[in-house]
């Protein structure tokens, strides 16, 4: 098999399209493939992958590998790694790109370990370096970046950060050879006994406006002000990890390196100091507004607009104005 740069997409929803992150990975793969003088392959593992497969071909993948079965809509590490390993072989892949998502933390290193390769996740940049590739990823939550060289004999498995590349344009009717991958039985070693809640409401990741609160709120009860402002502005509430740990907000509301990555038009950071691990989740907002009593707080280095004042005085005023505006 001639070499392909492989994009590995898991947990495709039954009949669902490619996600933005998947498209970006195809874009990143295309530039690498050009440099390596080869083509892009796309492996799709999920509940029902036909529409996503068509789209991947239309967005430039020259080889499609599919594993569609109802049980694969949710990520199952043991099975996915086995399927992915076959995909790597079929695509003759030396470089495997995995779109961002909750599964990559398990999938990337396991796949690499299985094939005697190596992995880097959260890559903000992947570039050719002679015959090989180099990946760049944030360290200490973004306080600095590291450049990684690969030393293992096997494939280079790279999990991507948001916005590493443009989504390639879609050319309707473009097709590619498709290979069905073998689907192994679940090994039964890890089984779900209580599924995560099936939340179908709006997602923080998609919100156009986020109002996030931190320890500067002084007390858990004041998180209500964050919720009120978010609601009045048609946005969603978010939180720093500090107040999630304190139980003032729920884990689903956490923004940051180990929480959600949000990309709203406006991000309000209220009583949040601006630690790199928090900024990792909101730095891509179009506009950041900071409210903090400390004029030296790091958040003001990242913010577009700042108010140096007490959150508990500013928030009620903002809520009132937002409500007047909405009325």
């Amino acid at each position: 098999m001639a070499e392909h740069v492989l994009v590995l997409v898991t947990a495709v929803e039954p009949g669902g399209p490619l996600r933005d992150a998947d498209g970006e990975a195809l874009g990143a793969a295309q530039s690498l493939a050009r440099e390596r003088g080869c083509e892009v392959a796309c492996a799709l593992i999920g509940g029902g992958v036909a529409p996503a497969a068509t789209e991947a071909a239309e967005r430039g993948a020259g080889l499609i590998l599919t594993a569609g079965a109802p049980g694969l809509a949710a990520f199952d590490g043991g099975r996915c790694v086995t399927i992915a390993a076959e995909a790597v072989g079929r695509a003759g892949a030396r470089v495997v790109l995995i779109p961002r998502g909750p599964d990559v933390l398990e999938l990337a290193p396991r796949l690499a370990a299985r094939l005697d390769g190596a992995s880097v996740v959260g890559a903000t940049e992947v570039r050719a370096a002679g015959d090989d590739v180099v990946a760049v990823a944030a360290v200490f939550g973004g306080a600095a970046r590291a450049e990684y060289a690969f030393r293992a004999p096997g494939p280079r498995v790279i999990g991507l950060a948001p916005a590493v590349a443009e989504v390639p344009e879609r050319r309707p009717g473009r097709a590619a050879p498709t290979v069905a991958l073998a689907i192994p039985e679940a090994d039964g070693r890890v089984t779900t006994i209580e599924a995560a809640p099936d939340v179908s409401g709006p997602r923080l990741e998609d919100a156009k406006l986020v109002v996030a609160g931190g320890r500067g709120l002084q007390d858990g009860e004041n998180f209500a002000l964050i919720r009120e402002l978010a609601q009045a502005l048609g946005g969603m509430p978010g939180a720093s990890r500090a107040i999630v740990d304190d139980g003032w907000a729920s884990f689903e509301q956490q923004v940051g390196l180990t929480g959600k990555i949000v990309t709203p038009d406006v991000y309000f950071a209220v009583g949040i100091s601006g630690a790199s691990q928090h900024m990792a989740g909101c730095a891509n907002a179009r506009c950041i507004v900071a409210v903090n009593t400390d004029p030296e707080a790091p958040i003001f280095t990242f913010a577009d607009y700042g108010i140096v004042d007490d959150a508990l005085d500013v928030l009620p005023a903002l809520v009132r104005l937002a409500r007047e505006r909405g009325a």
Binding site: R110, A113, A118, A137, Y148, A152, V190, C287, Y305
Partner: protein
């Protein structure tokens, strides 16, 4: 005192813990523009001003192990670390928290950022300890934020893997045991059952780790961790997976416009007007 079961009937738990530069210290160095890269190009030079501490998730992994014991399961808990000579310092705290014993693998290549190498060394040690039922790790090192080691360990040990755990309980008896693990996912919590042997990585949602009493701290100070050399498990001297070749500290230039005003309400009003003028509030 819950018994250390030497007869082999108890659960054998290994907790993997890593020493890292205090991330809060790194943050404030970065903020004050004092974060510098050292002469080797791939580590920070903080002039010894940022302490090296136990990776916070790993302290929580020790806590997860101790809660299994608290729940009445007889177990032996061994804490292991890979790192340079100084890295062994974190083990004392783990023993003071309640771990039974500790082993350090001394490895001078630990600064290369190669989780694959670390996992190989740990897998070698775990195989040598024998009959390990459960390996607990942190979800990621707060240095490189990669989370490589638990996944690679599971592959190398042929064990089940559960990541992002907020709680681990042991079900069943000596005849047949399994884990019940609460996981945090972006949609909320889920519960899985995992067969043993297993590797489980612990996330911060598990809660605050216990504080060792000063008596236990004194006792732990006298206990010496067992010591192994990296060459006991791995013949290659350097990186085997990935290697950090360069660190880059970004130059963050602020561009914030401070909204002035006589009162909080006035500032709020001016802010809203600005956002509206830029069409950022929709509608």
């Amino acid at each position: 005192m819950p018994a250390v079961d030497a007869s082999g009937g108890g659960l054998r738990i290994v907790v993997c813990a890593k020493q890292v530069l205090d991330p809060d210290g790194v943050n404030s160095f970065a903020f004050w523009g004092r974060l510098k890269v050292g002469g080797d190009g791939r580590s920070f030079d903080t002039g010894g001003m940022v302490p090296r501490i136990i990776n916070a998730y790993d302290e929580q992994a020790v806590e997860a192990a101790l809660r299994i014991r608290d729940a009445g399961v007889a177990c032996r808990i061994t804490v292991v670390t890979v790192g340079d000579e100084a890295a062994g310092a974190i083990l004392k705290r783990c023993v003071a928290m309640g771990a039974d014993d500790a082993v350090q693998i001394v490895d001078d290549a630990a600064g290369l950022g190669d989780g694959f190498r670390t996992a190989r060394l740990l897998a070698g040690l775990i195989a040598e300890l024998g009959d390990v039922d459960l390996v607990l790790c942190g979800r990621q090192g707060s240095d490189y934020d990669q989370g490589t080691v638990p996944a690679v360990l599971a592959e190398r040990l042929g064990a089940a893997l559960v990541t992002m755990s907020a709680g681990v309980a042991v079900e069943g008896d000596d005849e047949g045991r399994a884990l019940r693990v609460v996981r945090v996912t972006p949609r909320g919590e889920e519960v899985v059952r995992a067969a043993l042997p297993a590797v489980v990585s612990i996330s911060n949602e598990i809660g605050t780790p216990r504080y060792p009493s000063s008596r236990r701290m004194m006792q732990a100070r006298r206990q010496r961790p067992e010591r192994r050399e990296a060459s006991d498990y791995e013949s290659a001297p350097g990186a085997v997976g990935v290697e950090v070749t360069r660190l880059i500290v970004p130059d963050v230039q602020g561009h914030c416009r401070i909204i002035e005003g006589g009162s909080a309400a006035e500032k709020a009003e001016r802010l809203m007007r600005r956002l509206d003028d830029r069409g950022l509030l929709g509608g």
